[in-house]
């Protein structure tokens, strides 16, 4: 540990010098053959677990190399002698049975080609090119002791950092790592801030980091050789359907995302490209892309397209904008809220509004005691938090609060949530109370179907039926028919549309939009004194700030910090605390959330463990066992009246095809059996949800069920198989949870997060089946207590589904796991 890393050393002037350490002996170096890379690396291990070249190939996910012209074999791209495959992770040498002749041959498929076995080659002694994380030393020499001592001593951490840097700047050198800003850990978030400038100084760099990362990730997701299925939408626009694979934790397309579709041209077609919006994702994971321009689309071609992600900075720009407004504009939020958000001590303030006689609202179900208490308290406070555990009627409570706020005559109420789904749900409930609601959608989402279409601004503009709007209607019709207007007409059309939009928005009682949507230019001149943010625990602080800086005097944050938080892709930004929501920080500052305490979703047996583990046992049941009895469903629950079991699985986990995820075949096969059993006893596909934390397993289950399902294929297609995260905020009658991870030595990955487990366990209304390996899961304390809970209730079982037996599997002692 005392060793000082040499900062100079190595011969970096030579082109073929190892980019890590500078060794430049031609016999010891190879060039990465990836066109965008072409860097040289040596075969020395230095202080790392693999040689420099292997380190590079693994970290950069590059797979081809070329030897130096002065090396024993001369300038040679290493490739399979038989098929030409250049993937060094598949290559190895074989020798002739009788002669001293060797060739490179790939492991898959050439090594297993039958015809080869009959020839003069000895396949049994196939010798991999990369062995013990090093290239074969007799092919690429290891630099001598002398050479290694002269070289730069690079650490594994430095390697990882420089590889990360090369992703955005391929010419960067190791020295660039030492430049300020590149490698610095950003300033972490704190509980209290001096002023809004300090707040901005902390959060702006984090938002920038996340934006840069997001941009890099998305722009690197280009896919070639995409096959397109063409269609035409109701609005006569072209729609392209295609598959765009995704990986765990990486790009997840959502409706509204922009993609560019390209065709490089052929003899019969000129080169073509067009940008479009994702309008939906089909159950088969197909993307439906509505193209902006219908002209010249090569609809008679189906193959050979390329797809790029068009990154937009809008959401990040709006966060930065909100932080700036918060700092420079004194009227952006009330003085009380300004100090409160910054964590300053402020005297308790009571909002002097007359309270309603009853706290429910027309069109909504009766409120229970904890809901009434929350509504009543919130109306009297300038800043409040409502914690809504799963199934406790968060949306109804929020709608009731909004109803009473709107009736107080303080002007329009702004209602936001980070996700469009949550905004739609809330808009629907609020509209049910009779209030006039406008749902403002991003322009890019206007073509995306919405359950509350009649509430959307664009719909209302189109369907406003007064004579004075007839001019706008005429122009709209013309535009729809022709696709375009003359520039004069276009100007007139835009002005009329803007005026109509403003008029409709101003006459609404409530505006609903996403947090980012609150930064829409169409709301630029609006002021909102009262703001409610639902799902606020899933938004970052800067995101939450966007709706607040429009003049807020009273804010209600609704959420549950015991469920999943915001998704931050950039690890550096997450480490610095960007993943902590404003709700959570306020809780840490001592603001006590009002907790909704009665759950109406889960069979009482299902709510018991989550209540005890996540909510200090305070969750009460608003549904009885009888109301959650699956009458007529003859499913083999091990204990009648306890519709749950942990199904012990010992199958191995595997790394999925993408190499970035996991799957477990035995679990998948058993998921199919359970699903089929449910279906056979009369459960419909839309009542069932299959949850798995891994994309690899999700894809495998979907595939497996459609190929091997015992019943009609169509039935399985209608069953939703998704990640824990995408089930947050929703419910199903029956949930099957496939845990996947099953190994002795590694961790349990995603399952380690208690908040994710909470979400997974609280989606089911009638019954839940968990498939997993207790030996592995029991190492984690929370899983250990879950397993113990199931065991104590005789719900830990194994064996065939029609003959389940109590499992005697031994648990491991729970360990502290480093996160």
């Amino acid at each position: 540990d005392n060793f000082e890393f040499g900062k100079t050393g190595g011969d970096f002037a030579t082109e073929h010098a190892c980019r890590y350490c500078g060794v430049s002996n031609p016999a010891c170096v190879v060039r990465c053959n990836v066109a965008s890379c072409r860097k040289w690396f040596c075969n020395s291990r230095g202080n790392t677990s693999g040689s420099h070249i292997v380190n590079h190939l693994v970290r950069a996910k590059h797979k081809e190399v070329c030897l130096h012209k002065d090396s024993p074999l001369g300038e040679t791209i290493l490739e399979c002698y038989n098929c030409g495959c250049r993937n060094v992770f598949l290559l190895g040498f074989i020798s002739a049975k009788t002669e001293s002749v060797v060739v490179l041959l790939c492991r898959e498929p050439c090594l297993s080609v039958n015809a080869l076995k009959d020839m003069n080659w000895d396949l049994s002694q196939w010798c991999p090119l990369i062995d013990d994380r090093c290239f074969l030393q007799w092919l690429v020499k290891i630099p001598s002791e002398q050479e290694q001592l002269r070289a730069r001593q690079i650490s594994a951490q430095q390697i990882n950092k420089v590889e990360e840097l090369w992703k955005t700047n391929p010419d960067a050198s190791l020295e660039d790592l030492e430049k300020p800003g590149v490698d610095d850990e950003p300033q972490p978030v704190v509980l209290k801030y001096e002023d809004a400038y300090q707040y901005q100084n902390v959060f702006a760099p984090l938002v920038k980091l996340e934006a840069d990362y997001d941009k890099m990730m998305k722009e690197s997701q280009s896919k070639d050789n995409v096959t397109i299925r063409w269609d035409i939408g109701l609005n006569k626009k072209r729609i392209a359907y295609f598959v765009f694979p995704k990986e765990d934790n990486e790009l997840r397309l959502v409706p509204g995302d922009e993609l560019r579709l390209r065709y490089s041209g052929d003899a019969a077609h000129p080169a073509w490209q067009s940008v479009g919006h994702v309008i939906k994702l089909t159950a088969q994971e197909e993307v439906a892309l509505e193209l902006r321009a219908s002209q010249g689309v090569p609809v008679d071609v189906n193959h050979g397209f390329s797809v790029d992600f068009v990154w937009k900075s809008t959401s990040f720009d709006r966060m930065q904008g909100a932080m700036k407004t918060f700092a420079v504009d004194e009227t952006s939020v009330s003085g009380y809220i300004y100090h409160h958000l910054l964590g300053h001590e402020v005297e308790v303030q009571v909002v002097r509004n007359s309270l309603p006689r009853r706290f429910g609202a027309p069109g909504l179900p009766e409120l229970n005691a904890s809901q009434v208490f929350a509504v009543k308290s919130v109306l009297q406070k300038p800043v409040s938090l409502i914690q809504g555990p799963p199934g406790t009627g968060k949306t109804v409570t929020s709608a009731a609060i909004v109803y009473h706020m709107a009736k107080q005559g303080q002007g329009q109420v702004l209602v936001c949530a980070p996700s469009n789904v949550a905004v739609d749900q809330l808009a629907e409930k609020i509209s049910a109370t009779g209030l006039k609601v406008v749902r403002l959608c991003a322009k890019s989402r206007e073509a995306v179907s919405s359950p509350v279409e009649h509430l959307t601004l664009h719909y209302q503009v189109r369907h406003l039926d007064t004579s004075e709007k007839s001019e706008l209607h005429k122009l709209q019709q013309l535009k729809d028919e022709q696709g375009e207007l003359s520039s004069g007409d276009e100007k007139k059309y835009k002005a009329l549309k803007r005026a109509t939009e403003r008029e409709i928005s101003q006459s609404a009682d409530v505006i609903c939009c996403t947090c980012v949507g609150a930064g829409d230019p169409r709301l630029a001149n609006f002021r909102f004194r009262q703001v409610l943010i639902d799902e606020s625990t899933q938004a970052t602080e800067p995101e939450c700030l966007i709706p607040l800086v429009l003049g807020v005097k009273q804010v209600v944050l609704v959420g549950d910090h015991c469920q999943l938080g915001p998704v931050i892709m950039c690890k550096k930004a997450a480490r610095a605390g960007l993943a902590q929501s404003l709700f959570e920080r306020l809780v840490l500052l001592g603001v006590k959330p009002f907790r909704l305490q009665v759950q109406y979703r889960m069979h009482p047996s299902l709510s018991e463990f989550p209540s005890n583990s996540f909510y200090e046992g305070t969750l009460q049941n608003g549904v009885t066992i009888n109301e959650r009895q699956s009458s007529g469903i003859d499913f083999p629950w091990p204990v009648p009246n306890r519709p749950m079991f942990f199904y012990v699985q010992m199958g191995q986990e595997e790394i999925s095809a993408s190499g970035t995820s996991y799957l477990n075949r035995t679990e998948a096969a058993n998921v199919e059996k359970i699903v089929s059993t449910f279906l056979k006893c009369g459960v419909t596909p839309n009542q069932i949800g299959v949850i798995t934390p891994y994309e690899g397993q999700r894809a495998y289950i979907v595939n497996y069920m459609s190929r091997n399902g015992a019943l009609r294929q169509q039935l399985y297609k209608e069953i939703e198989v998704a990640s824990v995260d995408s089930f947050q905020g929703r419910e199903k009658d029956y949930i099957i949870l496939s845990c996947v991870r099953s190994n002795e030595h590694q961790g349990i990955g995603f399952l380690n997060d208690p908040r994710r487990l909470n979400v997974a366990l609280t989606r089911a209304r009638y019954g839940i089946v968990i498939l997993g390996n207790p030996k592995v899961l029991s190492k984690q304390p929370l899983w250990n207590s879950l397993l113990t809970h199931y065991k104590e209730h005789e719900c830990l079982v194994e064996g065939p589904l029609n003959n389940l037996k109590q499992s005697m599997v031994q648990f491991q002692k729970p360990k502290k796991i480093y996160s």
Binding site: K63, P72, N82
Partner: protein
Amino acid sequence: EEEVRVRSKTKVDPVEEADFERELRALVQESLDSRKLELRGRPALNMMIPMNVFEGLSSGSHHHGRGDESDDEGADEEGGGGVSVRVLVKKGNKQQTKQLSVPKGCALVQGTKQKEAAELEE
């Protein structure tokens, strides 16, 4: 016999090593999976050893790599001593052989050596 010793001034961090191993395995697995469905039926083409290889190096009709310039190359390899092998490569469609020294201990050449020895005894 001299061994190549890799200095370990700093110990390899076990967390880093595990992480690296995982990524490496993932890459190998992905590489395998991506080719499992490919080409299996295709016959092995051009896997015949060209006759001029049997004629030995004296023919001079093909390019030799620089392996034959340094005699002691195999000397610092593990297992001690090298066996000279010819690596068959394709440059475009042309077959070439290049001389290379492989350590005696390597399983790749052991089979051949044993057979050669057996043949000599006969």
